[in-house]
Amino acid sequence: MAQPILKLTDLRVETVGGLVLVDNISLELQRGEVVGLIGESGAGKSTIGLSSMVYARAGCKITGGKIEIDGVSVRDLSPEGRRDMRGQRIAYIAQSAAASFNPAHTIMDQVCEMPIQHGLMKKDEAEKTAVDLFRSLGLPNPETFGNRYPHQVSGGQLQRAMTAMAISCRPDILVFDEPTTALDVTTQIEVLALVKKLIKELNTAALYITHDLAVVAQVADRIMVLRGGKMIELGTTEQILMKPENPYTQALVSERKAADHFDEDIEEETRGETVLDVKDVVGQYGDFTVLKNVSIKVSKGETVAVVGESGSGKSSLARLIVGLLPRSSGSVKFGGKELSTSTKERSKDDLRRIQLIYQLPDVALNPRQTIGEIIGRPYAFYFNKSGAEVKARVAELLRQVGLPEDYAGRLSTALSGGQKQRICIARALAANPDLIICDEPTSALDQLVAEDILKLLKRLQDELGLSYLFITHDLGIVRRIAHRTAVMLRGEVVTEGPTTQIFAPPFHPYTEKLISSVPEMRTDWLDEVLAKRKVI
């Protein structure tokens, strides 16, 4: 075998406090090969990606192992030597392009910075190369694209611009750190196609970090599964997808496959009494109309999913229903009664009956209040209870969401993301609501944790007869929990109906585009979709 371009041997990374983040990882990467790193958050994926550039985040330290690039041990290099190596031999493409670009400089300045700094090109030469790159990456108006500032282009374009920046020095190794996670499925597919094309054309090696098996299946030759900083399994992409050996990998694979199928009990013939009736509402932020005559109905004990890309107005719809975004026309009826446009004018009981669960449980819970205070307050507030009664109810609610009762005395900062989301659910339940609006409650959570939250929501619906308005961009979730689905595009509901009908032919054209953009668990999915679209 030829000399690997990147070779990690027994890599070990620890925090300053001595916590082991990455333990005993060995990996060989050949030229032209792509290895996918997959695992939940905290698995050490990004840490390995950064370590391969001999970089450790603040508070971390590479404490053991060898890192070789093309046979040169990089850990033994001087800081200047490392700096020369970064960017020229190995480049990093981060998850959030928006956070990685400096908003005060034009895209062109930032893309050209690296070749100029490394002394590879003069300014005009670098700019010419950058325009060529923009063109090959399919960016609009490549000649003038670089003159724009990062906030003037879309998320997908910015991600491509960052890719241009990374390959501007023609590095031998590219490290992709979740490059498509922050993007919509329809944009993700473009970026994925591009990544694949690039790797082939430049014949570079790449590490591709992601938490989505279906995504990595499209680009990687081999997949390494990580958990808690340790390697669980390493194999070819086919082997990991078809015959995973480790039980953890098996759980990941089967969980991901389940998302492609409907759950059996989501079919419901008759709709119960209408709980929420939104009719022709129009919502505006200043002069910008985010919701154009949106109508939606939720019945008792039913889950209605609202899907769409970011910017389609799904979260605005939730804000309008709860009264945070005033409606300029239309009506919102709840239990047959018209609701006021603003939260302030609604009665305590109206407020109690609609509860909201947020996307980011970290900022939805006050870090200075105990779990008991957080959950107990709505109960005490709406039902005028105090002392022992509140305490008993808190214990009951904690049991209901599957947490130990003694969590009541803890602060939320000590909990994991999934546990925090359970607390948010318990807080919503404390008000004894009729409708819970879930605003992407699982999108910030790891796959297996998200699965547990969905199961919990379903169980609570069966037990308490709750109705859910479920906002999400994840079609896999919709198929599994929603009785009905509304698809939104640019502030309008383009199609609405029972989930099984929405996801069966004849499709609405936009629904079809959405569905076909969700990566499937096959290695040839991307090529197939792209081939199909080119024909169209």
């Binding site: 001999v54 450790a56 603040a58 330290k61 939805a364 006050n366």
Partner: protein, 277 residues
């Protein structure tokens, strides 16, 4: 040893020792001081001796005893002022952050007007109009100082108000008082506490400065700023009398600043050391 779950640095220990010692002698002044506050026990500007460890002042009073009683007065007034100014400033700041644009604009523009007038000039006018008693002194400085506190409290609270747990409480129908007290204040406290130390230093110097100008704490009460003023004549004769209260002012300021630096560094410290480059 840890305080509030953090290990103080060496300089923080020095600062805490200085502040602690001054507070101790301020509280126990009558027991610590060898003589009373205003009794003449010797002649003018006597040198060091076993009966007068730091000599005497221009009226023959014991310098050490005056310094000890002065600590009581100066620190006490500065502390009361700072507490009052924080109560007013924080309440107004949080209200401005959460009470909607009208309240915010009204309060903020009023504070802008106050801030545009030089602090010392403003204080001098008010004190010469109403006379300088300890209550007027405290209230005047507290109100002037609360404009600075308001600005910080509002800025900190503005960042907290937009978080989802505050929105969740609003959606629940909670009143402004609950939102301010339970949702925002606890999360705004860390930066406010370090600001408290800095404002205390500033008020302490301001009280000393006003006393030096004759509009602060009035004789026969001892206070450090006034003592520098009373004994200023001794400098011409090469006597050290005004240096002792001046040194006390400097020590106290340095002590508080050392402690505050440490508190600030806790708040600003990232979760670990710098990145391995």
């Amino acid at each position: 040893m840890k305080i509030l779950g953090y290990k103080p640095t060496a300089t923080a220990w020095v600062g805490m020792f200085i502040v602690g010692a001054f507070i101790f002698i301020a509280i126990f002044a009558p027991w610590v001081a060898p003589y009373s506050e205003s009794e003449s026990v010797g002649s003018r500007w006597e040198g060091f001796s076993s009966s007068f460890l730091l000599g005497t002042d221009q009226n023959g009073r014991d310098m050490l005893s005056r310094l000890i009683y002065g600590a009581r007065m100066t620190i006490g007034v500065a502390l009361m002022t700072t507490i009052l100014s924080f109560l007013v400033g924080t309440a107004a700041g949080l209200l401005a952050a959460i009470g909607g644009p009208v309240i915010d604009q009204a309060l903020s523009r009023f504070v802008d007007v106050m801030l545009s007038i030089p602090l010392l000039v403003f204080a001098l006018i008010i004190l010469s109009m109403f006379g300088s008693s300890i209550p007027t002194l405290v209230i005047t400085i507290a109100i002037l100082d609360s404009t600075r506190v308001f600005r910080l409290a509002r800025a900190v609270a503005m960042n907290i108000v937009v978080l989802e747990y505050v929105e969740a409480a609003r959606l629940r129908g909670e009143g402004i008082w609950w939102l301010m007290r339970r949702e925002i204040l606890p999360n705004a406290l860390p930066p406010m506490i370090s600001e408290f130390g800095l404002r205390f230093c500033f008020n302490f110097l301001f009280v000393a400065g006003l006393s030096f100008l004759g509009l602060g704490i009035q004789p026969p009460h001892a206070d450090w700023g006034g003592m520098v003023w009373e004994n200023r004549g001794a400098i011409v004769s090469g006597l050290p009398a005004p240096l002792w209260p001046a040194m006390a002012i400097a020590m106290m300021t340095i002590g508080v600043n050392l402690v505050v630096d440490w508190i600030l560094s806790i708040n600003a410290r990232p979760s670990g050391a710098s990145a391995e480059m």
